[in-house]
C-alpha cells in the first residue's frame, strides 16, 4: 500500500513538469524560480533543524560503549569503541560516518554445517555504503556543469569513472553502482517482511525520488540526448545569480532538475536529515569519561531528597536498641 501511494506521488510530480514545461511553457518557473526556492528552503531547513537539535542540551553523558573502558594500566583500553579522549571520539565518528561501522557490526560470516553462511545484513551495509559513495561521486561530478573551465579534479573523476570505456559516451561505473544499490535497498525493503512492516511512505518516497533522478539523468546521458551547452548555460547562470533560460532544453532535463529540487525541499523535513544527525548522536560522539570529568546538566533539577537527619529521626529508637552509632542521642 505504502509502496504504491508514494509511487503515485512521484508520478504526480513528473506529470507536473509535463504540464508546466510541456504545456504551459513555464521554463522560467521550473528552470529558475523553483530551483532558487528549493535551495533556499533546503539551506534554511537544514540549518533550522540542526539548530533545533543543538538547542536541546545533552543532559547526561551516555555513550554506548562497545569496547573496553580505560581503567587499569594493565588492561588494554579500546579507544575507538569506548573512546576515552577526543581522538577516540574522532576515530569512532570517522568509522561511523565513512565506513558505517555499526552497520558493519551486523555482518558476520557464520559457519553452519561446515559451510560459510553470510548474514543477510551484509547486504544492507554494502548497499548502503555503495549507494552513499556513488551518490557523493555523482553529486561532485555534476560540478562540471557549474564551473568554467571544468576543474581538473572533475576531469580526473570522470576519467576514472569511465575507466572501462564501454559504449559511447562511455559508461560511468558510478551510475551502475548507484542504480544497483538503490534498487537493492528498495527490493530489500519490499521483500524482507520485517522491513516491509516497518516501512512508511516516507521510506519509499525518497527511494523513488532518487531512482527518478538517477533514471532521468542516465536517460539524458545515454539515450535521449539533451543540449549540454544550453544546460551548462542555465547552470552557470544560476550559480552566478544571473539566470537565463536558453532555448531548446529538453523536457527530460526539466524532470530531472525538478526532482532534484523536490529532493532538496523534502530533505530537511524528512529522515534524510540523518546525514546531519549522525554527527550529533550522544551515544556515539561523547567521550566515555563521565567518572573522570564531571558532565554538566544545564537543567539539573532541584529534587526532594530524604536527608540523613530525617532518616535518623525516623529510625533512632531501633538504631539505639541495635547499638548503632547516632548523630543525635
Amino acid at each position: 500500500m505504502h509502496v504504491i501511494s508514494s509511487l503515485f506521488i512521484l508520478a504526480l510530480l513528473i506529470g507536473l513538469v509535463f504540464l508546466g514545461v510541456g504545456v504551459l511553457d513555464l521554463q522560467y518557473l521550473f528552470g529558475v524560480i523553483i530551483p532558487y526556492a528549493a535551495i533556499t528552503l533546503f539551506l534554511a531547513g537544514v540549518i533550522l533543524k540542526v539548530l533545533k537539535w543543538a538547542g536541546a542540551p545533552v543532559p547526561f553523558r551516555i555513550p554506548t560503549t562497545c569496547g573496553q573502558q580505560k581503567s587499569l594500566s594493565f588492561i588494554k583500553a579500546d579507544n575507538l569503541e569506548a573512546p576515552h579522549n577526543i581522538w577516540g571520539v574522532l576515530g569512532r565518528m570517522i568509522l561511523e560516518v565513512f565506513f558505517f561501522r555499526s552497520l558493519f557490526r551486523n555482518t558476520k560470516t557464520e559457519i553452519k554445517d561446515e559451510k560459510i553462511v553470510y548474514g543477510s545484513d551484509k547486504l544492507l551495509w554494502a548497499a548502503g555504503l555503495a549507494f552513499h559513495y556513488s551518490f557523493l561521486f555523482i553529486f561532485l561530478r555534476h560540478f562540471k556543469f557549474f564551473a568554467e573551465p571544468v576543474p581538473q579534479l572533475m576531469s580526473i573523476m570522470q576519467k576514472l569513472d569511465g575507466f572501462f570505456q564501454i559504449g559511447v559516451p562511455e559508461l560511468f561505473l558510478t551510475d551502475i553502482v548507484f542504480i544497483g544499490a538503490v534498487t537493492v535497498l528498495f527490493i530489500r525493503r519490499v521483500v524482507i517482511p520485517q522491513v516491509r512492516y516497518i516501512s512508511l511512505p516516507a521510506d519509499y518516497f525518497p527511494l523513488y525520488l532518487i531512482l527518478g533522478i538517477g533514471g532521468t539523468g542516465i536517460c539524458m546521458r545515454y539515450f535521449s540526448k539533451v543540449d549540454i551547452v544550453a544546460i551548462k548555460q542555465l547552470a552557470t547562470g544560476l550559480i552566478s545569480l544571473n539566470p537565463i533560460v536558453p532555448e531548446g532544453i529538453g523536457i527530460m532535463f526539466f524532470i530531472h532538475f525538478f526532482l532534484v529540487c523536490v529532493l532538496f525541499v523534502y530533505f530537511p523535513f524528512s529522515k534524510l536529515m540523518h546525514f546531519a544527525g549522525v554527527f550529533m548522536s550522544p551515544t556515539r560522539n561523547l567521550i566515555n569519561n563521565s567518572r573522570v570529568k564531571r558532565h554538566i546538566n544545564p537543567w539539573n533539577p532541584e529534587v526532594k531528597v530524604h536527608t540523613y537527619a530525617e532518616w535518623e529521626d525516623e529510625f533512632r529508637e531501633v538504631m539505639k536498641d541495635a547499638g548503632m552509632p547516632l548523630e543525635k542521642e
Binding site: 533543524k49 537539535w53 536541546a56 542540551p57 545533552v58 543532559p59 547526561f60 551516555i62 554506548t64 562497545c66 569496547g67 573496553q68 573502558q69 581503567s71 587499569l72 594493565f74 588492561i75 569506548a82 576515552h84 561511523e96 555499526s102 552497520l103 545484513d121 544492507l124 520485517q194 516491509r196 512492516y197 516497518i198 512508511l200 516516507a202 521510506d203 523535513f269 529522515k271 536529515m273 540523518h274 544527525g277 549522525v278 550529533m280 548522536s281 550522544p282 551515544t283 556515539r284 566515555n288 569519561n289 563521565s290 567518572r291 573522570v292 564531571r294 537543567w299 539539573n300 533539577p301 529534587v303 531528597v305 540523613y308 532518616w311 529510625f315 538504631m319 541495635a322 548503632m324 552509632p325
Partner: protein, 540 residues
C-alpha cells in the same frame, strides 16, 4: 475426506495471528497475562509524591486517566524534547533500515513485531510526528503519524515495559539510536498519568524511606551484616569485622541490597567481606546508603537523582576519602553515567588511591567511585592477595556480561581478569552473545516480576541458549555475573532453560579462592558445600 476436517495448522494459527499483513498502527494490543506487570500501589506512589495516584491495574478496562491526559502527554513530551537532545534526535533521524530489528532479545524470543526496537520506538515516533512535525500535522497517517488515543497509551504501557533498557539495539544502529533512551522517556510520560508499575514504584519508595529497595530498616541491615560475619566465620574460620556507619573510615562500600539478602548474591557479599578483611581495608558500610541500586533509573531522571543523592551525602557525613561500589549492573549505569552530573561535584572526597597497591584510579578521578572489579583486579595484578584457583575446581565457569556494565560503561576485561585468576575452568560463550553484544537476562529495568514470568522466559531465551551451548560443549555449570538483577533472575531462567547451571557473583569465586590468614581447612565453600575437587584440573 481430509479436506473436510479442520487442519491443525489452521487451528494453531487461527487464534493468535490470523490477521493479514496489516499496518502495525491498526493492530490492537491486548494486555496478555504473563506479559504485564501490576500497577503501582497507591501507598508507595503517595509516599513519593507522584502525580495522579490511583488504585489501578493494567488488566482493567478503565485506566482512570485524568481528564486532561492528552494535554499532560503533549506537554510532557514537548518539555522532554527540549531537555534531551537524544530524544529530539532519535525522533527525527531513524531511517527504518531494520538493522536493529532482530537484535532485541524480546523479539528474538517472541517474534512479536512490536518488539523490534525500531517499531517500539515508532510507537512514540508516530505520535510525535502527528503532533510535533509539520509533515505529520498536515499529512497525518500518510506521514507516518498516529492519533494519540487511550489505546495508544495502553500499547505504550505494554511495550515500554517489555524493554529492559539493555541498549543492545543501539550497538547496531548506524546513528546510535538507543531505545533505552526512548523507553525512559515514555515511562516518564506514563508516570505523569499515574501509570507506574509496582515493582519499580514500591522499591523506589522503600529506598527513599529506609535507604534500600527492600525496605530493610537500619537494625535489620545490621542484623544481616552481623549474620554474614557469623556465616563467614563458620565457613572460613576467620572472624571479620564489618563496620557500619563508621565515621572516618577510608572507604565507603556501597552494595546493592540484594547482596546482603538475596541468593546467590549473598555469597558474593561474603566474598567482599573476606577480601576486605584479608587486605586490611579501612572501610565502612552504611545503613543509610544501604542500596547502590537505583530503581529511580527505571522511573524518571528526577527519581534517579532523589535516590542517588544519599550516596554522596553519606560519604560526606562519614568523612570517607572515596567510595567502592559493589557488583550491580544498573547501579553502575547510574554511578558511571549519571551520579556525578546529578549529585556532584564530589569535591569533599579525595581521588581514589588503593591503600594496598598505591594505584591511582584515574578513571574515577571526578566521581571518586571505583568498581569493585577494578579494585580487585588491581590487587591481583600486584600480587597483594593469595589465591588458590583450585578451590573453585568444582565449578566450570562462564561469564555473562551485564548489559549496563558492558554497554554503559565498558567494563569488560576486569571481571574476566579476576575469573582467570580465581578458577581453573573458564569458557566463554559464543562471540555474538557476550561483551558489547551480550544478551540481556530479560528481566532488567524493573520488570523481573513473577506476574511477567512468561515474557521474561522468552526474553531470556537468547541468553539461556548461549549458556546451554557452553554447558553442552564444555560442561559449564556456573554462570558468573556482576549484576544484582541478573543474580535474582538468571537462576529461574536457567532452571527453566538450562537446568544444572548455577549463578554466582564474581566475588563468590574470589572469596572461595582467597587464602586467608588464620583460615580453617576450607573444606566448604561460601555456599556451605564441599569445596574444590582439587584433583581434576583442566587448562583454561
Amino acid at each position: 475426506m481430509a479436506e473436510k476436517l479442520i487442519k491443525p495448522e489452521d487451528l494453531a494459527r487461527g487464534i493468535s495471528y490470523k490477521h493479514p499483513e496489516k499496518d502495525w498502527r491498526d493492530v490492537p494490543t491486548e494486555m496478555k497475562k504473563g506479559c504485564i506487570n501490576y500497577g503501582a500501589l497507591p501507598a508507595s506512589a503517595d509516599y513519593l509524591d507522584l502525580p495522579n495516584v490511583k488504585k489501578w491495574q493494567p488488566m482493567h478496562d478503565d485506566w482512570q486517566l485524568p481528564e486532561n491526559w492528552k494535554e499532560i502527554i503533549f506537554e510532557g513530551l514537548k518539555e522532554r524534547l527540549k531537555k534531551f537532545r537524544s530524544l529530539q534526535l532519535f525522533m527525527d533521524v531513524c531511517v527504518r533500515c531494520g538493522a536493529c530489528a532482530d537484535k532485541c532479545h524480546f523479539y528474538i524470543g517472541s517474534g512479536d513485531p512490536k518488539n523490534m526496537p525500531v517499531l517500539r520506538a515508532e510507537l512514540l515516533r508516530a505520535v510525535y510526528r502527528s503532533n510535533f512535525t509539520l509533515a505529520g500535522k498536515i499529512l497525518g497517517r500518510m506521514a507516518g503519524g498516529r492519533e494519540l488515543t487511550k489505546d495508544v497509551i495502553k500499547e505504550w504501557f505494554f511495550y515500554f515495559y517489555q524493554c529492559t533498557e539493555c541498549r543492545r539495539c543501539s550497538v547496531f544502529c548506524p546513528y546510535g539510536i538507543d531505545t533505552a533512551e526512548i523507553t525512559m522517556m515514555v515511562r516518564e510520560l506514563l508516570n505523569l498519568l499515574g501509570l507506574g508499575i509496582d515493582w519499580i514504584t514500591t522499591p523506589a519508595a522503600n529506598c527513599f524511606r529506609t535507604g534500600n529497595h527492600l525496605g530493610i530498616q537500619p537494625h535489620g541491615f545490621k542484623d544481616s551484616v552481623d549474620f554474614a560475619v557469623d556465616d563467614l566465620e563458620e565457613n572460613c574460620g576467620v572472624r571479620v569485622e564489618a563496620p557500619i556507619n563508621k565515621k572516618g573510615a577510608e572507604v565507603l562500600v556501597v552494595v546493592p541490597s540484594a547482596d546482603y539478602f538475596g541468593d546467590p548474591h549473598y555469597y558474593g557479599f561474603l566474598g567482599y567481606m573476606a577480601l576486605f578483611h584479608e587486605i586490611g581495608l579501612d572501610y565502612t558500610f552504611s545503613a543509610f546508603a544501604s542500596e547502590g541500586g537505583n530503581f529511580g533509573l527505571f522511573h524518571s531522571n528526577e527519581m534517579m537523582k532523589r535516590l542517588n543523592n544519599k550516596i554522596y551525602a553519606e560519604a560526606k557525613r562519614l568523612g570517607v576519602k572515596w567510595i567502592i561500589g559493589a557488583e550491580c549492573g544498573h547501579m553502575w549505569r547510574v554511578l558511571h553515567q549519571y551520579m556525578d552530573t546529578m549529585n556532584g561535584p564530589a569535591d569533599f572526597l579525595e581521588e581514589p588511591v588503593s591503600p594496598i597497591t598505591g594505584t591511582k584510579f584515574e578513571n574515577a578521578k571526578a566521581t571518586k567511585m571505583v568498581h569493585i572489579c577494578e579494585f580487585t583486579a588491581d590487587l591481583i595484578k600486584h600480587n597483594k592477595i593469595k589465591l588458590d584457583p583450585s578451590r573453585n575446581n568444582h565449578w566450570n565457569v562462564t561469564y555473562h556480561d551485564s548489559c549496563n556494565t558492558a554497554r554503559g560503561m565498558g567494563l569488560l576485561e576486569e571481571p574476566r581478569y579476576i575469573l582467570k585468576n580465581t578458577c581453573n575452568k573458564f569458557h566463554e560463550m559464543p562471540e555474538n552473545t557476550i561483551r558489547e553484544q551480550t544478551f540481556c537476562c530479560g528481566s532488567g529495568s524493573g520488570i523481573g516480576t513473577d506476574e511477567n514470568l512468561e515474557m521474561r522466559m522468552r526474553g531470556g531465551f537468547p541468553r539461556a541458549n548461549a549458556v546451554k551451548y557452553v554447558q553442552e560443549k564444555h560442561g559449564v555449570n556456573l554462570l558468573t555475573c556482576i549484576c544484582a538483577i541478573d543474580k535474582a533472575t538468571l537462576p529461574p531462567l536457567l532452571q527453566y532453560w538450562v537446568p544444572g547451571v548455577e549463578v554466582a557473583a564474581i566475588h563468590e569465586l574470589v572469596g572461595n579462592a582467597l587464602v586467608m590468614t588464620g583460615e580453617n581447612d576450607r573444606s566448604i565453600d561460601l555456599r556451605g558445600d564441599k569445596m574444590g575437587g582439587k584433583e581434576d584440573t583442566e587448562d583454561v
